[in-house]
């Protein structure tokens, strides 16, 4: 249903473009007519099902997340019945980071991915430590003297996670969470725009963006920035709502999204419109294959995607080589 609507929209837009081109040709003098894809400053994009000028989209998205920041985590649990935790856990399992990895979590707001990353690294470190100790149960004198000489070289490189978000309110909530959980070590909180990251080239081993990329005005620019800041061999991972493949589940999911979620938003967060925007923006985001194509166009290799929960969420992954 959503696909047919999208097709129709594209057809209608193309029709209008043709109409405008015709009037441009036959119009008098140098009058520049405004079409859908004209000079800079006239470009429009979608904000949910609304059409807005591009400059405005970023501002409105900022306001949405400013309003929902305090209740963001509660609403996530309520809307997804806690399943969003499983999705984020799946991201970490597929990522399988090793101690020493540097993570950049863009649109990381309340820090869910970064916290899980640090937990995973710590448990990996403990596992490695245990294995090392097990294999060294009966060391020879040579082994012991070797250990003394290497001890002062400094430990393995510490893993760090940088959480970058354009919205200060979301970062504030994330920082408070980190402090209350007592896991602030190794985390940095940076305000930044996914389309223009405040980092040098070749800095990070892993770049993640979880449920954030559909709010970006220029997705291709965000993908190019991701390519830039990743080290060669680095991995790009994106968790995002996508097209449900099963038609029965799709109808249930649509009904649930449009009927229940905005009402829940009104009751829990006191904000209907922000959650209306959120469910509409999911429908406007490209599907799994199209997004895979966009990631490949940006220059990533070995791009693949995993469907979670029947396609409700898709995890895209690509490598910078």
């Amino acid at each position: 249903m959503a696909a047919s609507v999208r097709l129709l929209t594209r057809r209608v837009v193309r029709l209008c473009q043709r109409r405008f081109n015709v009037t441009c040709v036959s119009g008098p003098g140098q009058q520049s007519c405004r079409g859908f894809s004209d000079a800079a400053g006239d470009r429009s994009t979608h904000f949910g099902f609304e059409t807005v000028p591009e400059e405005e989209k970023a501002k409105r998205v900022y306001k949405v997340f400013e309003n929902v920041a305090q209740k963001y985590d509660i609403m996530n649990d309520a809307m997804s019945f806690g399943i969003h935790r499983l999705w984020k856990d799946a991201l970490l399992h597929i990522m399988h980071p090793q101690p020493g990895a540097r993570l950049l979590d863009v649109a990381g707001g309340t820090g869910d991915i970064a916290f899980r990353f640090m937990d995973y690294i710590h448990s990996q470190q403990e596992k490695q430590e245990r294995l090392r100790v097990q294999s060294m149960q009966t060391p020879s004198w040579q082994d012991i003297s070797d250990k003394y000489s290497t001890e002062d070289e400094g430990g393995p490189q510490e893993s760090t996670a940088v959480i970058c978000d354009i919205n200060k309110e979301m970062l504030k909530v994330g920082k408070q969470k980190a402090e209350s959980m007592g896991v602030s070590a190794g985390l940095s909180w940076v305000v930044g725009d996914a389309e223009e990251l405040p980092f040098d080239d070749d800095q990070f081993d892993i770049y993640t963006i979880a449920f954030g990329i559909r709010n970006v005005t220029h997705i291709d620019q965000a993908l190019q920035e991701a390519l830039r800041v990743l080290k060669p061999g680095g991995r790009f991972m994106c968790l995002e709502f996508s097209k449900v493949t099963n038609p029965v589940l799709a109808r249930l999911y649509d009904a649930y999204s449009f009927q229940i979620i905005p009402a829940l938003g009104e009751v829990i967060a006191g904000d209907w419109k922000s959650y209306q925007y959120l469910v509409e923006s999911i429908r406007k985001f490209p599907d799994q294959e199209e997004f895979k194509g966009m990631i490949e166009d940006a220059g990533f290799y070995r791009v693949q995607y995993y469907n979670l929960t029947g396609g409700v969420v898709a995890l895209h992954s690509g490598f910078k080589l």
Partner: protein, 276 residues
Amino acid sequence: MWLRASNPLRRLNRRQWSLLSKVVSVHQLHSSTSDFSQGSYDGLYPGHIPTTPLQKAVLAVGSGVAALQNPYRHDMVAVLGETTGHLALINLRDRMRNDPEGYEILIERPRIRLSTLDLSRMASLHDGSFGREYLRFLEVNHVTPDSRADVKFVDNEELAYVMQRYREVHDFMHTLLGMPTNMLGEVAVKWFEAAQTGLPMCSLGAVLGPLRLNIRQLQTLFTSLGPWALQNGRKARCVLSIFYEKRWEQSLEDLRQELNIDPPPIIPGPSNKRAT
């Protein structure tokens, strides 16, 4: 079962179609503003959010639970009132239409806000006048008429105004009944409003409000304040049909007699709990 699932989807499609037609017309491109609440709105009045019956049901249940859990969430009480009050609002509007002054209000649609009230003129009125007593009520209880939420979920523009008027007239109720804004005073006004308007939200508030009173207050409520509020609620003229904004100089006693409201038997003293 699929019919029920597809009905909201059909309505969704209609909304998508109407929005598609907006995409085609170039005007929409340049008329949207940066604020959600201003500019082109998708509804019958500014702030209106159209909802399906299923959404209203979810809102009613959810807001009821939220309001019970945290009575300071006035927006939830408001949403509960809007989603459950359809029949009562129709009744109220018909009563207003049948009354000449009420009809005038429905035509002129006055709104009660600090910006529309002339506070200095009201302060200069003599003691005992309606305007002076109302101002005194605002000052003593530290409340302002601007704290009322806008109506969002009523799907008829006139009924939405009736709901808005009911909310804004609440402070006038306090003045007319002589009730302060502490818990006992609020419950007494709720009983009066429940008897007057028949709104389910008022009835719910009237039943659940006493749960938060202590024994002494409960005694006062059930012996004197409560019966007085109920009786007056039933026999008083429709309070929404009074054009209060034109009656500032009228004496409070005179207004009470006109509305057929008896003066309160007791004035509940200020307690530690303050509710707006």
